[in-house]
C-alpha cells in the first residue's frame, strides 16, 4: 500500500517535471519567433545605425543572436541547470538575483492574499450554501458575479483612489517608503505598503473559492445523511460542523492550491497599479523592455510555482479522498 502510494506520488512529480520542461521549450520558442530584434531593442536604433557593419556583426556574434534557436536553447538550458539564468539586459544584473529579490517581495503579498481569499471565500461559501436561495446566498452569489465581471486592476485602482488618494490612510505605491535607506525600513512600513495590493488581490480571489464551496455545501445540505441528521434532532450548527465543513474543506483546500496561477495572474495587474516591485511587475517590465533573459526566467520560475501548487493539489486529493484511492488502483 505504502509503496503503491509512493509510486503514485513519484508519477505525479515526474509528470510535473515533464510539463515544466515542455513549458520551458514552448516559452523559448515563443520568445525566439518574436519579430522584435534583440539587437535593435537593447542597443537602440540610433546606436546600431552609427556602428559599422563589422561592429554590428561582432555584437551579433558576442550575443549569439546569429546562432540557430536550438543551440541557443541548449546553451540556455545548460546554464539554467547549473543555476545561471543569464544577465538581465535592462538591469545589467544576473537574472537570478533580480528574481530572488522580487520573489521575496511577491511571496508575502501573494501569500497573504492567498490565505485571506481562501479563508474568507470558504467562510462565505459555507454561509451561502447553508441555505440556498436565502439572503446570504443571494448576497454572496451577487458579489461573486460582480467580482467575476470586474478586472483586477480596476479594483486596485479604486482602492488606491479611495484609501491612498482620498483618505490618505495608506501609501500610494511601491514596497518601501521613498528616500529611506534600506536598513531603516521597518516591518510596519512594509506592511502598510502591502495592505492595498493584498486587499485588491484577496477581493478578486474570493469569488472562485466561494462559488465552489457554496456548490459543494448545497450538495451536502441536500444529501440523505443531513436529512437523517435532522431527523435525529441534530442542531443546525452541529450539522454544519460535522457534516458540512468536514466534507467541503478538502476539495476547497485542493482548489486553493490549484488557484495559485490565478493569484499570480492577478498580482501581475495589481503590482503594476501599485508599482509594487514583485515578480508580476518584473514580467511586465521585462516584456515591455524586450528583456528576454529576464522574461524567460520569470516565466519558468512562475510555472514551477504553479505546477508545484497543482501537484500538491493532486497529491492531497489522491491521498486523502478514499474514492480517489479506488480510482487510482483501477488505472
Amino acid at each position: 500500500m505504502a509503496a503503491e502510494r509512493g509510486i503514485w506520488i513519484g508519477k505525479q512529480l515526474f509528470r510535473m517535471m515533464v510539463l515544466l520542461g515542455a513549458v520551458t521549450v514552448a516559452v523559448f520558442a515563443l520568445l525566439s519567433v518574436s519579430p522584435i530584434d534583440p539587437l535593435t531593442a537593447n542597443v537602440g536604433q540610433t546606436a546600431l545605425g552609427s556602428m559599422s557593419p563589422e561592429q554590428v556583426e561582432k555584437l551579433r556574434e558576442y550575443w549569439g543572436t546569429d546562432q540557430p534557436a536550438l543551440s541557443r536553447f541548449l546553451a540556455w538550458a545548460g546554464d539554467f541547470i547549473r543555476g545561471d539564468m543569464g544577465t538581465s539586459l535592462l538591469y545589467r544584473r544576473p537574472v537570478k538575483e533580480i528574481i530572488w529579490e522580487r520573489f521575496l517581495n511577491s511571496v508575502w503579498l501573494m501569500g497573504s492574499a492567498w490565505v485571506l481569499s481562501g479563508v474568507i471565500g470558504f467562510g462565505l461559501g459555507i454561509l451561502a450554501g447553508r441555505k440556498q436561495g436565502g439572503v446570504a446566498d443571494r448576497l454572496v452569489t451577487g458579489y461573486c458575479m460582480l467580482i467575476a465581471s470586474t478586472p483586477a486592476f480596476w479594483i486596485a485602482m479604486i482602492l488606491l483612489l479611495i484609501f491612498a488618494v482620498h483618505l490618505q490612510w495608506l501609501p500610494i505605491g511601491l514596497a518601501v517608503p521613498i528616500g529611506v535607506a534600506a536598513e531603516q525600513v521597518t516591518a510596519a512600513d512594509r506592511i502598510s505598503h502591502m495592505v492595498l495590493p493584498a486587499a485588491a488581490l484577496s477581493l478578486t480571489g474570493i469569488s472562485n473559492i466561494a462559488m465552489h464551496t457554496r456548490q459543494k455545501m448545497a450538495e451536502v445540505m441536500e444529501s440523505d445523511y443531513v436529512l437523517f441528521a435532522r431527523a435525529r434532532g441534530e442542531t443546525e450548527r452541529s450539522i454544519i460542523w460535522r457534516h458540512g465543513i468536514r466534507n467541503v474543506a478538502l476539495p476547497a483546500l485542493t482548489l486553493q492550491f490549484a488557484s495559485i496561477s490565478e493569484i499570480f495572474g492577478g498580482s501581475v495587474l495589481v503590482e503594476q497599479v501599485f508599482s509594487y516591485p514583485g515578480l508580476g511587475q518584473t514580467a511586465v517590465t521585462a516584456g515591455l523592455g524586450s528583456d528576454v533573459p529576464l522574461l524567460m526566467g520569470v516565466t519558468v520560475i512562475t510555472a514551477a510555482i504553479v505546477f508545484g501548487g497543482n501537484a500538491v493539489a493532486n497529491i492531497l486529493y489522491g491521498l486523502v479522498d478514499p474514492r480517489m484511492k479506488n480510482r487510482r488502483k483501477k488505472s
Binding site: L19, L20, A22, V23, A26, V27, L30, L31, V33, S34, P35, I36, M145, L146, A148, S149, T150, P151, A152, F153, W154, M157, I158, L160, L161, V165, H166, I172, S261, E262, F264, G265, V268, L269, Q272, V273, G280, A283, V284, G287, L288, S290, L295, V298, T299, T302, A303, V306, F307, N310
Partner: protein, 274 residues
Amino acid sequence: MIHRNRREMMVLLAAVSLILLAAVTIAGANVYGDAMVTDFSRKNLPPCLEYPFGTDFMGRDMFVRTIAGLSVSIRLGLVTAAFSAVIAFFMGMAAAVLGKTADGLVSGLIDLMMGIPHILLLILISFACGKGFWGVVIGISMTHWTSLARLIRGEVLQLRESNYMKIAARLGHGKLRTAMVHMTPHLLPQFITGLVLLFPHAILHEASITFLGFGLSPEEPAIGVILSESMKYLVTGEWWLAVFPGVLLVGVVLLFHILGQGVLLILDPERAHE
C-alpha cells in the same frame, strides 16, 4: 398584473442585455471619429450635464471615448471568442474521437497552458507577435479554448456511451447521420453557452493586456488604454477618468454574464422545465 415565471424573466433579461450590448457596439462604432477629437478649451472638466463622464487632459469627451472603447472591446471579444470556440470544438472533438494518443496530447497541451498564468501567457504571445493588435487577437484566441474543449470532450465521451447512440449504430445508421441527428442537438446548446460565456473572459483579458501596455496602441480609444492613462491622473484628483469607464466596462461584462445564463436556460434541454 404581470406575473412571470423565472424562465420568462430570464429570457426577458437576456433579451434586454442583448439589445443594450448591440446598442453600445453600434453607437461606439459610429462615434469612433468623435472619440479622437481634442479640444483644449474644455480640458480636465469634471462630470457635468454636457460631458457626463468629464473630459481628459486633451479635452476629449470621456463619455464618447468610453463608448467607442467599449465598442472596440466588444467587437474584439466577439472575434476572439469565436476563434477560441472553434479551436475548442476541434480540440475537444479530437480528444474524444481520435483515440488515446490524441486525448493525451490535448490534455497535455491544456495542462501546459494552465501552468502559465493567463496574463503571463498573453504577455508572451503578444511578445512573440511583436506586440500590437494581432498580438492581442492571437493571444486571446489561443488561450481561451481550454475549458470549453474539456467540456466538449466530456460531453462527446458521455454521449457515445449512451444507449440511443449504440442503438442507432446497431440499426446501421451511418456515423455522419448519428453525429448530425443525435449528437448535434445535445452539443449545440453547450457549445453556444460556452461561446457566450467566453465573451466576458475575452473582454476582461483584452482590457487587462492593453492596460499593461501590450495590446492595442495608445492612440486608439480602447478601454484598457483609457484606464491606463487615467492612472497618471488618479493622484492629481481627476477621479472621473478612472471611475466611469471602469463602471461601464463592469456593466458590459455583467450583461454578457446575464446573457450567457439566459442562453443556457433557453437552450439546455435538461433545464427546459425550470
